[in-house]
């Protein structure tokens, strides 16, 4: 680089106020490597931004044709979902109620294991209780998804309190979701009955609680919910 070109380069690197924009020591060779580095990183940034946009966009022909590549890339460390109560927020809550029967014949009746956690969650916003309550709700959600097919096979979906038919129940009982719910139910019932009363059987009921619609808002202060849809599962015999 000649002295005059160095001077020109130096002049070109000052703002109107005379502030130096780039280092004086920016030799030609380094300029090329820097330009290549900038180009490479900008390429990565553009590709990642495009992949994120395609991943988040609603279904469209471009998304459909690139889904294989985009999902394989995004699902590892960039998985995301920002629906956040949209397009419409959920208007009900799912719970798994249990009825625990001891060997001496005494029963707890239907109890909601998440109820004490909800109370704690309302009192203390910072703490693990709300998180545990959500995980109990997730067991109920997974279970109702798993029973959807079974209820369709039975031909009596949504029957209030109706047990699932035998074939559908057998299919459901083979799923991991059911195994998890069963373990949860037995654990919670053992806790509820205590060590002195050995557990004999557990019944599970999926309950969907619907709050009052706006037109019936006057009842909100009087009752906790407007309607409860129930699905009863077959009783589990517990061997000690």
């Amino acid at each position: 680089m000649t002295p005059s070109s160095t001077s020109r380069r130096h002049d070109a690197c000052r703002t109107r106020k005379g502030e130096e924009l780039v280092s004086r020591a920016w030799p030609e060779k380094r300029r090329i490597t820097d330009a290549l580095a900038a180009l490479a990183v900008l390429g990565v940034l553009a590709a990642h931004t495009a992949a994120t946009a395609l991943y988040l966009l609603p279904r469209n022909p471009i998304k459909a044709s690139t889904a294989g590549v985009v999902n394989a890339y995004m699902d590892q460390f960039f998985q995301q979902d920002w629906h956040l109560f949209s397009p419409d927020p959920g208007r009900s809550s799912l719970n798994l109620w249990l009825a625990c029967t001891a060997e001496d014949g005494s029963s707890t009746g239907w109890v909601d294991p998440a109820a004490p956690l909800l109370e704690l969650h309302h009192r203390f916003r910072v703490g693990p209780w709300g998180k545990l309550m959500f995980s109990y709700g997730e067991i109920a959600s997974s279970l109702i998804e798993a029973t959807a097919h079974a209820r369709a096979v039975c031909g009596a979906p949504g029957d209030d309190g109706a047990p699932l038919c035998a074939e559908a129940y057998a299919a459901l009982a083979r799923t991991g979701v059911y195994a998890d719910a069963r373990r949860f139910a037995i654990d919670k019932c053992r806790e509820a009955l205590g060590a002195r009363r050995p557990l004999a059987s557990v019944a599970m009921r999926i309950v969907e609680l619907h709050p009052f619609p706006y037109s019936e808002r006057g009842r909100i202060r009087l009752e906790p919910f407007a309607r409860a849809d129930k699905i009863d599962l077959l009783e589990i015999e517990v061997k000690q």
Binding site: A12, C13, L21, V22, S23, R31, T33, D34, A35, A37, A38, A40, V41, L42, V44, L45, H48, T49, T52, L56, Q76, F77, F78, Q80, D81, W82, H83, L84, F85, S86, P87, D88, P89, R91, S93, L118, H121, H122, R125, V126, G127, P128, G130, K131, L132, F134, S135, E138, S142, G176, D180, R183, L209, P211, Y214, R217, G218, I220, R221, P224
Partner: protein, 308 residues
């Protein structure tokens, strides 16, 4: 050289030099880093009293999450490996220790990597408890792996460029959250009618007993808050790039997310969004925050022992 060419050359030089040879907004990066590590530690500590229910023998929904044939699982789900699972307290200890050392600036990239690997494992195991806040934080931590690369302060061109690009990506990620959520809400019937928040706040797990009755008595509050939510989420993506609008927008966002955290009870999500705002702080503000933190640290360290 013609004036136009000189101008273009100057712009090009400034852009390339700014990207690969100088660490953009070092103060903003430091504040964002600190905020994220504090959130990670706060989140884990809030789970700690019931740790066995989330990560240990009393947890549910964790079976079959580890697939040995998937190479990524050896990084992000290794805690679910049957032989590793009993040692989950080690992941908690490493995560908290690494977050503390990273906050102190010790072995920054190594500590960021340790926080990343332990955090994604702890999140994946407790998947039933996750919300959008955990999702955003895990993404931000991934970007932070690039932001905190060694020699990214201008010493090495590729590392510096990746670090600067990571900050840009963090900002775009927050914008993507609002853009997606805002546009999805526009099509929702309840968001259009202004009754979305009335119904959300009737579901007991997203509400508080005091609020349920309040909205029943004053429906206008639901309408105002519903439309304000959609307006804020749609306004954020374009306006956050406008320097003058940014402080007002961030202040409104902090108020909005505190409401989500403490009224709706989605504490981790509300606080994670506020933490993510740090990447939009102007450099001067970030430097002022860092100076204040430094003064506070000195004052704490210099405090005399309490009298016996």
């Amino acid at each position: 050289v013609s004036p136009l060419r000189a101008r273009l050359l100057r712009g090009y030089d400034a852009f390339v030099h700014g990207l690969v040879r100088s660490a953009t907004s070092p103060g903003t990066k430091a504040v964002q880093r600190a905020a994220l590590f504090v959130w990670v530690a706060f989140n884990t500590l809030s789970y700690l009293p019931l740790h066995a229910h989330f990560w240990g023998a009393r947890s549910y929904g964790g079976d079959g999450l580890f697939n040995p044939d998937n190479p990524f699982h050896w990084y992000s789900r290794v805690m679910m490996h049957p032989r590793v699972a009993p040692y989950y307290p080690l992941f908690i200890a490493v995560q908290l220790g690494a977050a503390l050392l990273a906050l102190l600036g010790i072995r920054l990239w190594t500590m960021t990597l340790l926080v990343h690997v332990t955090t994604v494992n702890l999140f994946n195991k407790a998947w039933m408890t996750l919300d959008g806040g955990h999702n955003l934080v895990s993404l931000m931590l991934t970007y932070m792996l690039f932001m905190n690369l060694p020699q990214s302060d201008g010493g090495a061109p590729v590392q510096t460029a990746l670090s600067n690009a990571a900050l840009v990506m963090m900002r775009l990620q927050v914008v993507a959250v609002y853009l997606t959520a805002g546009l999805c809400k526009v099509g929702g019937e309840l968001w259009q009618s202004g009754m979305a928040l009335f119904y959300v706040l009737q579901v007991d797990r997203y509400s508080h007993p005091a609020v349920r009755g309040l909205l029943a008595d004053h429906a206008w509050m639901s309408v105002v808050a519903t439309y304000a939510t959609v307006a804020f989420q749609l306004a954020f993506p374009p306006l956050v790039w406008v320097r003058r609008a940014r402080p007002w927008l961030l202040a409104a966002g902090v108020f909005f997310h505190l409401q989500i955290a403490f009224v709706m009870g989605l504490t981790t999500f509300g606080l994670a969004m506020i933490v993510a705002y740090a990447c939009f702080l102007p450099e001067a503000w970030s430097q002022a925050i860092l100076r204040a933190a430094q003064r506070w640290r000195r004052a704490v360290l210099a405090a005399p022992d309490p009298a016996p």
